[in-house]
Symmetry: C2
Subunit: 222 residues, 2 copies
């Protein structure tokens, strides 16, 4: 198996591996593989696959819809969604979203790095920025949306009684959703608003908390 | 009420407030106050308190014990603990902790900023770094410890059946706890190990997830 220049630089210049050393590989489909270095330099190299070390761990069918915020907090949301086990990450543009575009490739790289760090072998797809209006218009109503509704401060609605199946979590930008968006979300039959406690959470914190609650009630943390 | 130079710079140079403008104040004890600018310059100023706008929202009796990791992730843990509602934050030194000291004042400032951002009026105290061994030796066994045990990968133990009362959450550094520490923790009657799902979480993610689970099972998110 040939390596890219980036991969070779990391393995042979940064990690200083040599022939016979072993590495863990994953391709996002089959799980984790063990491979052995055959030869390598800063510019390229060859690994030999020795066998499957662990099967692929796929997350439950949970998506995350979030409004991009400041750069480092957006990176953070993608990282945490990958670690906590989301299958797909969809940045959405809301009325109060400042960003007009995102660097999809950078965010996808963050999702990959999070999966590598956490020994996960599944890398969630990060889609490009789309207007929330368009996403909701094209939505398949069989996938329910758990909406972190910041106006519901107070005890959180428990997720114990909600229907299993495909879900998506929706968290807004700093400043929340506009009144128009809130009316629209409240009127959609597939949207369930949920409170995330009595304190106002930042968008990145709300994403972590909502994914955790969903995973422990309906996902693979049970 | 006189202002410090930092506060005056923020209000009058950054936010450009002038006489008659209103600001929200909190002292960490009584809640949120409304005040009016009497006079102000970059170097100082005077505010007049008009009255209490919201009562103090105190978090439940939950502490967070965590091992300091890289700078920005340590900052992040403190920020998230303040937002999600911890009453006290205790950095602890474990066998696999690289840090020999922390900047307590910087972390305390992070906790204050998180409380300000989130309209909370309670600022958790961040203590100085202490060895985990010493903390456990002096521990009051009436406060139970919820231990994010990374060897328990798999479905999370539900917190539904655990005893209410004062609790602390304990999360380890990157690399987890040593075998000696693990044996010791398992032997302590006031320690409850908990799994945080089938994926290995970074320390900062584990802290967010464990606080969220505790808040929704035993805290003020119910």
């Amino acid at each position: 198996m040939p390596l890219t220049a980036d991969q070779a630089n990391y393995l042979f210049a940064v990690m200083r591996l040599g022939p016979g050393d072993r590495v863990a590989l994953f391709n996002g489909q089959d799980g984790e593989w063990t491979a052995e270095v055959v030869e390598g330099s800063k510019r390229g190299g060859v690994l030999r696959c020795l066998g499957l070390a662990a099967p692929q761990l796929n997350p439950p069918d949970l998506w995350l819809l979030f409004a991009p915020i400041k750069k480092e907090r957006t990176d953070f949301i993608v990282e945490k969604a990958a670690e906590l086990g989301c299958a797909k990450i969809l940045p959405v543009q809301t009325e109060f979203t400042n960003a007009a575009r995102i660097k999809q490739d950078r965010l996808q790289a963050h999702a990959l790095e999070a999966a590598e760090q956490c020994l996960g072998t599944y890398v969630p797809e990060v889609s490009d920025l789309q207007p929330l209006q368009k996403v909701l218009k094209d939505w398949n109503p069989e996938r329910r949306i758990l909406w972190g509704d910041e106006s519901l401060v107070g005890p959180a609605q428990t997720l114990a009684g909600v229907t299993p199946g495909p879900w998506a979590i929706l968290v807004g930008p700093e400043g929340g959703f506009s009144e128009t968006e809130r009316r629209q979300l409240r009127a959609l039959p597939f949207v369930t608003p949920v409170s995330l406690g009595p304190r106002i959470l930042r968008a990145d914190t709300a994403a972590c908390a909502a994914i955790t609650l969903w995973q422990s009630a309906l996902g693979d943390w049970r």
